[in-house]
Every structure is written in structure tokens, then in C-alpha cells.
Amino acid sequence: MATRSERRIAAAARLVRLVLDGLDVPLAVRLWDGTLVAPAAGAPRVTLAFRSRRVFRRLFARPTPLRFGEAFIASEIDLEGDIFEALRATHRLEDARWGLGTRLAMWGAWLRT
């Protein structure tokens, strides 16, 4: 049986995948335990790295470019690779319109992280 931290990582990976699938960007996310969540199609050009579950939960509760930007300058998250692609990707969050089903799945996953 999976431990609590394994279940949290699995939920976080599920949440990241839901977000990435909607954005279609060459961006991967590395979770606080080192797990890499890559986009479904194509090789990622930049990796967004989380060092703590706390920061992950805070940002994914309401992901916006402003919040990612502020976390980046505060060194709460790191970028490895093409920084331009990271900025292109976070901008997509401005226009992202997820359906109700996806949003519910996201919230469900977020609550389990």
C-alpha cells in the first residue's frame, strides 16, 4: 500500500498532467521528491522545479503568471532550460479555459497533494 507521501506525489503528478494537457507547452515539472512530470507530446525544453510541497500547493491552488513569477524571483521555484519557453507557457494560463469536469478533477487532485 502506498504511503501518504507517495499518494501526495501521485496526486500532484495527476494535477500537473491535467494542467499540461490543457496548455500544450514544452514544459516539464519536477516535484519536490524528484519525480519528473513531462508533457504528453514532444520533448520538454524547460523544467519547472519545486523544492517544497507547500509552494506547489500554494501555486497550483490558483496558478497565474503573477504567482509563478513571484515564486521564481523569491527562489521558491527554479527554472532549468529555456526560460523563454517557461514564460510562454505561464502566459497560456491567462487564457486557459478548462471545462467543469477538468476543473473538478484538478481540485480533486489538488486536495490530495
Binding site: P65, L66, G69, I73, A86, L87, R88, H91, E94
Partner: protein
């Protein structure tokens, strides 16, 4: 002089001259370059931009040029040295004013270039200028003050004189994004973009005739990309000078700007206008491009 404007300008431009030197070209031009040749490096493209501005303003020896928001003085020096004009450069940043005045003195141009630390509202010459350039100032003015700003430029310019306004524009009807909030909070307090129609309309309503409009958007995408690459190449020095937070703030803002120009979310427009009076503008654009370009050979940069 507005205290608030002073504080806002100091927040960004007084960070550290040494820090800006890590990613700008040797002339410290902190605005969109002009890549006239596809293989041009940053230093050449910035000189070509200075040259383009002087050409669009049709500078002639002995004329008086006001450079509003003169930054580190690159245009003032270029215009005085290559075009033989008398330049009054104005910036609200103390760090820039000191640097620019020193650069003019070193170049032996102190007699023809006067740098003053002042607000655009407080410029009060004995007589109007023949030409006025405002490169990258409009973004700091604030839309509420556009009418006062264009009226001031109109007052400062002689009838028939030329005004070149170079600035970042947003799309008409663009909604406020959270990226703009990031910029206002962490990078450019007091900064505000306007769409081209507001700028052109504002200039016209102040009593000008618009004579030329050019979009340099792809050039700014490339300029900002080069700044990011240079800053990243000097990461250690940058961190030592300004700390991790400011280093990361500039990386994010410049890379974000490059993407925004690349995608067309924002643009860079040069607008040339003449104060109504005796019309001195040529009938075609050939006058701007006909002269041989006098900029230096390309340097690897």
C-alpha cells in the same frame, strides 16, 4: 518634480549602472535596437537605432535637440557627435544623469551636450527646440497624464519642428493581465502601456500632424532576447552586484517581454509628428534611407 515619479524611476534605473552594463551594449542603450542587417550584433543594432532616430528627425548641424528620457545618454552623444546638433538630455534618474554627463565630458562633447536631472514636466528652455526625441519615456508617463505630456512636448517644440515618440504599445482593447501586475509591482512601478491609437490620437489632439508610424516589434523581441542571453552569461557577476532576487526579476521580465513581442501581445511603435506650422517634412521616406549608413562595422556582441 513629482516625488512619486522620482521614486518610481529610481526604483528601476538606479539599480546599479554596473549591473545594466552586464547586459546592455557598450553605449548603454536600454531601448529597442534596430537590426538593419540580419546578422548584426547588439552593439551595431543599437548604433543603427540611434542613427535611424536621427534620420527620422532629419537633424541638421546647429539644430537644438531635446532628448526626453535620455537614459545613459547614448542618443545625445550620437546626435551631437555624428549630426552636429546641440543636445539637451533630460532624465529623472540620478544614476543615469551622472553617467551621461561623464560620458559627454569624456567624449569631448560637454560643450554641445547638456545633461540635466529633471522631470519632463519641469523642462523650461529659453526658446523652443527644433527637434524632440522621447525614446522609451511614454511607458512611464501614465495614461492619465498623456494629454499633459503631449501638450508639454508641443510647447517645447518650434512650429514645423519634429517630434519622435518611441515606445511600447499594447493591443487595442487588451485586458490587464497578471503579467502587467508583475511588471508594475516588481519592475516598473508607475509604468503603463497604451495602444497605438491612444498615442497617435493623443499626439494629434495636442496639435501635431502625424507624419510617420513604424512598428519595430520583431526588433524588440530580438533585443530583449539578447539582453537575457547576456545577463545569463554574466549571472555570477549580476548576483554579486544586485542579489539573486533582482537578478531573477530582470531575467523573468526581459524573457517575458521577448516572448510578448515575439507573440505580438505588445509592440514597439515609433511615431514621428510635426508641430503644425511651416511643413518641412519631405514628400517621401527616401530622405530617411538614402544617405549611406555611417554606423561602425559589426562587432561580435
Amino acid at each position: 518634480m513629482s516625488r512619486r515619479a522620482e521614486r518610481d524611476v529610481a526604483f528601476h534605473y538606479d539599480v546599479s549602472n554596473e549591473f545594466y552594463a552586464l547586459f546592455l551594449d557598450p553605449r548603454m542603450v536600454y531601448t529597442c535596437a534596430y537590426y538593419r542587417r540580419p546578422d548584426a550584433g547588439l552593439a551595431t543594432a543599437q548604433e543603427d537605432k540611434l542613427e535611424l532616430v536621427c534620420r527620422k528627425l532629419q537633424l541638421a548641424p546647429g539644430e537644438r535637440l531635446l532628448d526626453l528620457g535620455c537614459g545613459w545618454g547614448a542618443l545625445a552623444l550620437w546626435a551631437a557627435e555624428r549630426w552636429g546638433v546641440e543636445v539637451h538630455g533630460v532624465t529623472l534618474s540620478a544614476a543615469q544623469a551622472t553617467w551621461a554627463a561623464e560620458a559627454a565630458r569624456r567624449a569631448g562633447l560637454a560643450g554641445r551636450v547638456r545633461i540635466e536631472r529633471a522631470d519632463w514636466r519641469d523642462v523650461a528652455p529659453e526658446k523652443p527646440y527644433d527637434k524632440i526625441a522621447a525614446i522609451g519615456l511614454i511607458e512611464h508617463v501614465g495614461r492619465a497624464r498623456h494629454p499633459a505630456y503631449f501638450a508639454q512636448v508641443h510647447r517645447l517644440l518650434t512650429p514645423g519642428g519634429l517630434f519622435l515618440n518611441h515606445g511600447i504599445t499594447c493591443r487595442a482593447g487588451a485586458r490587464r493581465t497578471s503579467e502587467m501586475a508583475f511588471l508594475q509591482r516588481h519592475v516598473f512601478p508607475g509604468g503603463e502601456l497604451a495602444p497605438l491609437d491612444a498615442i497617435v490620437g493623443g499626439i494629434e489632439r495636442a496639435g501635431f500632424e502625424i507624419v510617420d508610424v513604424e512598428d519595430l516589434r520583431p526588433h524588440y523581441a530580438r533585443t530583449t532576447r539578447q539582453w537575457v542571453e547576456r545577463l545569463q552569461a554574466n549571472a555570477e557577476r549580476a548576483r554579486a552586484l544586485v542579489g539573486e532576487r533582482v537578478y531573477r526579476t530582470y531575467l523573468a521580465y526581459l524573457a517575458g517581454a521577448s516572448v510578448a513581442f515575439d507573440e505580438g501581445w505588445i509592440a514597439l511603435h515609433q511615431v514621428v509628428a510635426t508641430r503644425r506650422g511651416a511643413v518641412r517634412t519631405p514628400a517621401t521616406r527616401e530622405a530617411v534611407y538614402a544617405l549611406p549608413w555611417r554606423t561602425t562595422v559589426d562587432r561580435a556582441s
